[in-house]
Subunit: 291 residues, 2 copies
């Protein structure tokens, strides 16, 4: 089969045989770069040779199922595992192959406020074995998700806007004026982390990024790392139950910062296997009702 | 005497006689619009006729004393009241009048992180009578300050970045895509306030602004008000001691939102007299060592 992880900025295609990726390719044909009505053509361009070679099953995951994508797929309510997700795929109009689209998942937090994911459910399906029958996974990114697994299914999840808040604060507030770009300074990250864990509100802690700089107690090369430590420290302190193991899924550099924060908070961080999306496409593909 | 509230964007000049403002004018000659070395000329243009008419004492307050201003004035450490601030004014080089500059104030929070203000100390001096010998004042704005008064002096303060965070989130994150500009919708502000007070972390609550919109449970015309309620609700919940009276100093529309949040949190909100800066300039001017 062919698995497509079709996100906002990129399209990643995997040719899968017997649960293994035998070929992969990536392009910048993310949904924001696809013209209206252009999805079948872009898909054909991406994998026409694989289809012609005999792979007639194509499974799509990610933002391609959003309002800005090919079609808007509904959300499957939690709890849901690979079987429920596979049973809920949506057949797509396409000539020459059997194309199915994976829906997103929805949940509600304790206060009844909705939660949604689209694409992450597939990555989680791919690392379910690493998590085990029950556990917790964290998917750091622009909108970081903390996902609870129970009985082999996604039981519920919460999203934190930390990544996008970091970028907005760095690029569009006074805090960014005393920041120089550069690699993460771990000691500064740890100071931000300690500040977050020591009590007090984030909205107050943010002003300290400026005053520590004004008073020459935080260098411009350290300031972004300190801010990152503050935000990730606040998030992990709020999201992490006591002393739990967390499987991290995401970009290695960002996962390393989250692992640092999780361990500082008394948790245990593990990194998931790579290519979670490809594994998840293979797993859900097995449960899907191919015609 | 002449009092000048010289901020980043505006210059407000007051002619004061016997503690009363007898004439006022305002221009857009804030420090960001003053060329290097241009401060004496801009001051002269603003109040030359008052000086010629006999007012030889000119007192400056605000960002004019910052690194980007006329000279960088040091910070006076808290606790400090009008007497200490008046005693610490800095004589400025100027021909034809006696010009003094009011310094800012510094403090540290419980964790030893520095706090600074510049200009607010003058406004507080102006409303000290309304606050009483001891009390709490809140100065809503881009960087909202919560200031503790004890024994008629500023004992300490904490700054929250809520105002600037609101603007950065609205203008530079995905949350702004589902917001239409318009007047504050009080019911939506109250929903954000209730969400903030109901527990959970701000970084998670922010994602709810998007999901409530996606699920048609928050209209685009309500979304900015909901976000404002979230941020102000988080700030007030963290900053407000139990059931205390808070004197608000600032723009009336923003003070009204803070009053709403303070009352929802069990506090009592009072609004300060207008022209706090002019009153404070008069008060500190009395304590200043004019030549």
């Amino acid at each position: 089969m062919i698995g497509i992880d079709w996100g906002t900025t990129h399209l990643r295609a995997y040719r899968i045989a017997e649960d293994r990726v035998i070929e992969r390719r990536e392009s910048e044909s993310g949904i924001m770069h696809v013209p209206a009505g252009g999805f079948p053509d872009v898909l054909r361009r991406a994998v026409a040779d694989w289809i012609e070679a005999g792979d007639q099953q194509v499974l799509l995951a990610g933002m391609v199922g959003s309002r800005q994508g090919w079609v808007e797929a509904r959300y499957v309510p939690c709890p849901a595992g690979p079987e429920e997700i596979g049973a809920a795929v949506i057949p797509m109009p396409f000539e020459g192959a059997d194309v199915l689209l994976i829906p997103g998942l929805s949940a509600e937090d304790n206060a009844g406020v909705p939660e949604v994911m689209r694409g992450e459910e597939t990555e989680i399906a791919g690392v379910m074995d690493a998590i085990g029958e029950s556990g917790l996974t964290c998917m750091p990114g622009t909108h970081t998700k903390w996902v609870r697994i129970a009985q082999g299914r996604i039981a519920g999840f919460e999203t934190y806007l930390s990544g996008e808040v970091f970028a907005a604060l760095r690029d569009h507030t006074i805090l960014g004026r005393m920041m120089t770009p550069g690699p993460v300074v771990e000691s500064a990250f740890d100071r931000g982390l300690a500040r977050a864990r020591g009590g007090g509100h984030l909205l107050h802690h943010l002003f300290g990024v400026r005053t520590l700089g004004l008073m020459d107690r935080l260098a411009e090369a350290e300031s972004a790392s300190y801010l990152s430590g503050l935000l990730i420290g606040h998030e992990v302190s709020a999201a992490l139950p006591v002393q739990v193991r967390v499987v991290l899924i995401g970009a290695p550099s960002l996962c390393a910062l989250y692992a640092r924060a999780i361990e500082a908070c008394g948790g245990e961080a593990a990194t998931a296997l790579p290519e979670a999306a490809a594994r998840g496409l293979a797993r859900i593909g097995k449960a899907a009702p191919w015609s």
